[in-house]
């Protein structure tokens, strides 16, 4: 387990080192490139700020009303049997439709239970390994003018649930 966390700690420094060294050996103006990219990253965040604000307000209202808790408890009594915390059900479902709405719920879980709690860890890992199924499918298939998606949805659901199951197991190892 210690090795596992050690590797986790090493990945980002190794990537930074690797990319900078590779850039230098390829005679790229590394500093110039970094500034250019940082600028575009800055713009991306500025662009999503209003969305973020809107959704965090909506989740804040849902939380204050007590509805979120009520839903979580209702479903939780069913999912607890298979070892999946009910508090995570709203997050899992919403993530299939909208990534930004899911972010609002994720942050709410962090506030409520802490980032390093079991719930916080499962949420973190599962957010890192799942995609917005319905959003992606509708955008991509619309582009290809496809109406019959055949085995795409079952495949996407299988992959997503495998990822979530893995998140639960892995979070237990911390």
């Amino acid at each position: 387990m210690r090795l596992f966390l050690f590797c986790s700690d090493m990945i980002i420094p190794v990537i930074i080192l690797g990319i900078v060294c590779y850039g230098v050996t390829q005679h790229v103006d590394v500093y110039e490139s970094f500034i250019k990219g940082a600028n575009s990253g800055f713009q991306t965040v500025i662009k999503i700020m209003p969305t973020m604000l809107a959704l965090m307000i909506a989740v804040g209202i849902l939380r204050a009303s007590g509805l979120l808790e009520a839903i979580g408890m209702r479903i939780g009594s069913m999912t607890d049997h298979i070892g999946f915390p009910g508090e995570l059900v709203p997050l899992t479902v919403v993530k299939m439709f909208s990534s930004s709405a899911a972010t609002g719920l994720l942050l709410d879980l962090y506030k409520e239970y802490g980032t390093d709690s079991r719930i916080g860890l499962i949420a973190s890992i599962s957010m890192a390994c799942t995609e917005t199924i319905f959003y992606t499918m509708s955008v991509y298939f619309m582009t290809a003018k496809v109406r019959k998606s055949r085995y795409t949805l079952p495949g996407a659901l299988i992959a997503t649930f495998a990822g979530i199951a893995a998140s639960v197991v892995l979070a237990g190892m911390f």
Binding site: L5, S8, I11, I15, I19, Q26, V30, S33, I35, G37, N39, G41, F42, V45, I46, M49, T51, M52, A54, L55, M56, V59, I61, R63, A64, S65, L67, S98, S100, A101, L107, Y110, K111, G114, D116, G120, S124, M127, A128, C129, T130, E131, F134, T136, Y140, F141, A144, V146, K148, S149, R150, Y151, T152, G155, A156, A162, G163, A166, L170, M173
Partner: protein, 202 residues
């Protein structure tokens, strides 16, 4: 292309607000609503400030990788993998390039580069399918496989999640990276096994 996304958000957002306020009236929590709205908006701004730092840093790093030709180099090495995943796809078909770019951009967490490439790949796959069967509106095997792969989201570093964790006081925000890589590999593997079975049936 943002239309469906906006529609979904439109429904989600409005129902969250309406359900929340109505429920608070029923349970008598209505006095907490205005505080919740104000606090949440303040919090959103604080969070975005943290995000500005993390995202600018990561995107800067990725720009170096791109300018140094690392992305292109990786594409070259991906060819055998693409052939394994899409055995019916002709080797020099233009869809190959878009699919590769999409997969690499996803792995590196470059969402803005992944989507355009992904959509171009779908257009190319649609053309290919038309030339094969002249049947319109039905997903080809390649399309199904590609989307399952895409949705299973093979991501190396979940930059956003790390940023959120650091904003909300995690002792070690990046501690989930290892577990994330294992989980994302498992989900992608499950997707691949499934579509390989379906692909064989044809």
């Amino acid at each position: 292309m943002n239309k469906t996304g906006d529609e979904m958000l439109n429904i989600l957002w409005s129902s969250m607000i309406i359900a929340g306020i109505l429920y608070s009236v029923v349970t008598g929590n209505v006095s907490d609503i205005s505080n919740a709205a104000l606090d949440s908006s303040k919090e959103a701004v604080t969070l975005c400030i943290t995000m500005l730092g993390v995202m600018a840093f990561w995107c800067g790093l990725m720009q170096i990788a791109e300018d140094a030709g690392l992305v292109e180099k990786m594409s070259g090495k991906m060819q055998p993998v693409i052939h394994f995943l899409f055995p019916q796809l002709p080797k020099n078909h233009p869809a190959n390039k878009h699919i590769t770019t999409n997969i690499i951009a996803n792995i590196l967490g470059l969402g803005w580069a992944a989507t355009p490439a992904g959509l171009q790949a779908m257009e190319e796959l649609a053309k290919l399918e038309e030339s094969r069967r002249s049947l319109k509106g039905i997903a080809s095997n390649e399309m199904c496989n590609f989307l399952i792969l895409n949705i299973s989201s093979l991501q190396l570093i979940p930059v956003n999640v790390i940023a959120y964790r650091s904003q909300y006081g995690s002792v070690n925000p990046a501690s989930i990276v290892g577990a994330g890589i294992i989980a994302t590999s498992i989900s992608t593997l499950a997707g691949i096994v499934y579509f390989k079975i379906m692909d064989r049936k044809r």
